[in-house]
Symmetry: C2
Subunit: 204 residues, 2 copies
């Protein structure tokens, strides 16, 4: 049977391209990049969006601290150089996933504008859509939520260079999507993103 199938293969000219893969899985490779303070709601939104996309038969893949900081980036610390390298690598991986045809959902504080711009450029140079989602809530609200108890530790001086406390968060100037998570419900947030993806022809 394998023989027969292989004899029937119509060999294409050239290599399989991103367009070929997109045709195969009927979607458009894209990176959705969630940036915002710790506790702003990035992961909550990414997890909910992943489900919403799945229900629409769309393949997405989440990149976050769990599978990145403990995996490929486990040899990086939190110095300025390592933080930049952390975001650079995540940007490269996001690009590979979107080049594969999937929707990469990358949620990282990524506090520095230049680092995010570099990732955007990396995508756009290859003709891949990059959607920056500013997951915005006030420091006060994020600190009240403090899901991992990190703000308390930063206030107590047990964590240094913590974004929002003693390290800056540089807000996006022109994000494709701006979500005020202290004013919207999770359902409204997902709705906003899905609508944008539809309008951009990324999903049907």
């Amino acid at each position: 049977m394998a023989d027969q199938i292989l004899e029937n293969i119509q060999w294409q000219e050239g290599e399989i391209s991103r367009a070929d893969r997109e045709r195969l899985i009927q979607q458009k490779g894209t990176t959705i990049w969630f940036t915002g303070l710790s506790g702003s709601g990035k992961s909550t939104i990414a997890i909910a969006l992943e489900k919403a996309l799945y229900q629409r038969n769309t393949l997405s893949y989440r990149l976050d601290g769990d599978n990145i900081r403990l995996g490929i980036n486990k040899n990086l610390g939190f110095s300025a150089v390592d933080r930049a390298e952390n975001i650079r690598r995540i940007g490269e991986i996001s690009k590979l996933f979107s080049d594969c045809g999937a929707i990469a959902l990358s949620s990282f504080i990524s506090p520095y504008r230049q680092d995010r711009e570099n990732v955007r450029t990396l995508h756009e140079e290859s003709g891949i859509k990059f959607i920056e989602v500013f997951v915005d809530c006030s420091l006060e609200v994020a600190e009240t939520r403090d899901p991992k108890g990190l703000y308390k530790k930063a206030r107590d001086g047990k964590i240094k260079n913590f974004t929002g406390i003693d390290d800056p968060y540089e807000t996006p100037k022109n994000p494709e999507i701006h979500l005020r998570t202290d004013q919207l419900t999770l359902e409204q947030e997902i709705k906003t993103i899905i609508l944008y993806l539809e309008q951009q022809g990324i999903i049907n």
Copy 2:
């Protein structure tokens, strides 16, 4: 319309898993790791396999020097430490792709047994299939092919630590697939791999 679709979403408990993604794209996430000398035929086989899988509606993604060495690993050289880090990162990325449900096709000389074993362990610890393909041909044949003119440069001393010349290639002890590319046609090689994938239930 977005509203209506979103209201109809049936929220699942928990997060989307690898099994969910595999169900969605109807295949089994796997890493196929091609190892062998420069000129042994790794890339040729990976490119042909990618086409064969595509013809079978199977999503695969090739990781190779073009998209890795010039991308995420562009800050690595060829020292022993950097070579190990190169393979470590590629292993982590392969694992992310197979976790996504795709078939990662990773073709790198990867001359050291320990580096390859680490990548295997990384996959197997997560219950992901890792298929090592030993792309085997004699040094003499590889050197005659010399597609990039690298052996000549190594013999002339213009490249140091070149695998097979002045750096060792440690052959796999128990590769899942062993291809003698100086004895098989490309079609036979692809047939062998496809048959193995079928037997393992990775593709239908």
